[in-house]
């Protein structure tokens, strides 16, 4: 099981600010693909990612009990 925290537009797209994903045997890239399919989240490829409050990238592998944060870069200034 993996907990996923969503930020900014992803909260609106998913209608919630956190999700639970039943399996953990995958990479961040695979998690993103799964979420795009299951929750209709759009274009997670550029989304920044943290595992357990540390920044990481798409190649990182998840472990049981991890908390993943998905952070779409925003640009307004």
């Amino acid at each position: 099981m993996v907990k996923v925290l969503l930020f900014a537009r992803l909260q609106e797209e998913a209608g919630t600010d956190s999700l639970t994903v039943p399996q953990s045997d995958m990479s961040v890239a695979e998690l993103k693909q799964w979420l795009e399919k299951e929750y209709g989240l759009t274009s997670l490829s550029n989304t920044m990612t943290a595992i357990n409050e540390n920044y990481t990238d798409d190649s990182a592998l998840l472990s049981e009990g991890d908390t993943v944060a998905l952070i779409p870069p925003v640009s307004g200034g």
Partner: protein, 342 residues
């Protein structure tokens, strides 16, 4: 006047020594829209010795709800932001030297300006320019403080050359799906919280209080009162082309030809000619008067046509308002400007 900074000197993180250092330092703020305005006002009031502000835009009505240096008069007069900002900032603190540039910041013209700065504050609204800031920061060893927002959500990070990972370590590719003010709107409290975290970090850098610097990417939502800190362990890449062992500073290379760019937060396309042009507004006005209503002030010439409104700057930049498609803007530009200029 002696008591002007007392409350700030009493704060432990600054102190009398820190206040003296602020006076000797130079902050460069790239973009004085919402974040730039808020940062500039706090740093000028705080007594920073020199503040450079750079902005290419003019004040518009849709800016006023979140851009604190500007008034209705500025929107009516279409005053360039860098001019309006300087005027206001100088009234807040005449002891601060304020340098103001109405220019379209690019790698080459920025390179000259950043060299003197002790910190660069991101007041921009797009990642193109942030990657240029990132490379300039690394090349000249000047810390920069990223800030960005959308809706009620904001983020900030402090990049210290030689110590922290750089923007390219965090974002190997230019984000194309960044949520902008255009799609998510923006409320002033999100601006202020983002800018406050930027200014707090700038104060630490300028007072040389580097041990207090935050090491994390900060995320927050001011409407939902959410707050998250993301650590950066293992993120710095030795192979990074910007901050790695053999940096090539890719974003300082090669500028394009005529570059068209859709600006953030409004129905506007900006056209940038390949060579810097220098318009004579009187001559240009006579030409354009055949097509629409024309008026101009010291900084800007406006031509109102049935299909759009065009603002022209001395350096040749043209903002075409009321148009969203790049191709249509290009056609309008070619029709009215390709044969003009010096």
């Amino acid at each position: 006047m002696n008591s002007r900074y007392t409350r700030q000197e009493t704060f432990k993180g600054i102190g009398k020594e820190g206040q003296k250092r602020l006076r000797e330092k130079h902050a460069l703020i790239l973009g004085v829209g919402a974040l730039g305005s808020a940062n500039a006002e706090m740093l000028v009031r705080a007594g920073v010795g020199t503040v450079t502000i750079i902005d290419r835009d003019i004040v518009e009505w849709s800016n006023l709800h979140r851009q604190q240096l500007y008034t209705e008069t500025h929107a009516e007069n279409q005053t360039p932001k860098a001019i309006a900002a300087k005027e206001r900032l100088q009234n807040l603190n005449r002891e601060t030297v304020i340098k103001s540039y109405v220019i379209d910041a690019k790698a080459d013209n920025l390179e000259k300006l950043v060299k003197e700065a002790d910190v660069i504050i991101d007041g921009s609204d797009n990642f193109d320019i942030r990657f240029i800031i990132n490379d300039l920061s690394l090349k000249y060893r000047i810390p920069w403080i990223f800030g960005a927002f959308a809706g009620s959500f904001g983020m900030s990070h402090t990049f210290i050359p030689g110590q922290t990972p750089c923007l390219q370590c965090l974002l190997p590719a230019l984000p194309t799906d960044g949520m902008s003010c255009e799609t998510a709107g923006i409320i002033a409290p999100a601006v202020q919280v983002t800018a406050s975290y930027q200014t707090a970090e700038a104060m630490k850098i300028l007072t040389e209080n580097t041990s207090d610097l935050r090491q994390t990417l900060l995320l927050f939502d001011v409407w939902k009162a959410q707050h998250q800190s993301i650590g950066m362990k293992g993120v710095k890449k030795a192979s990074c082309s910007s901050c790695g062992d053999h940096p090539s500073y890719p974003y300082l290379q090669a500028e394009g030809n005529t570059k068209l760019e859709v600006l953030c937060g409004r129905d506007t396309v900006q056209i940038r000619p390949p060579n810097i042009t220098s318009y004579n507004f009187s001559t240009l006005a006579r030409e354009l008067e055949q097509h629409g209503d024309v008026h101009h002030n010291q900084y800007i010439l406006t031509c109102v046509l049935p299909e759009c409104r065009m603002n022209v700057f001395h350096d040749g930049r043209v903002l075409i308002h009321g148009v969203n498609e790049v191709e249509r803007a290009k056609l309008l530009y070619q029709r009215f400007f390709e044969h003009t200029g010096s």
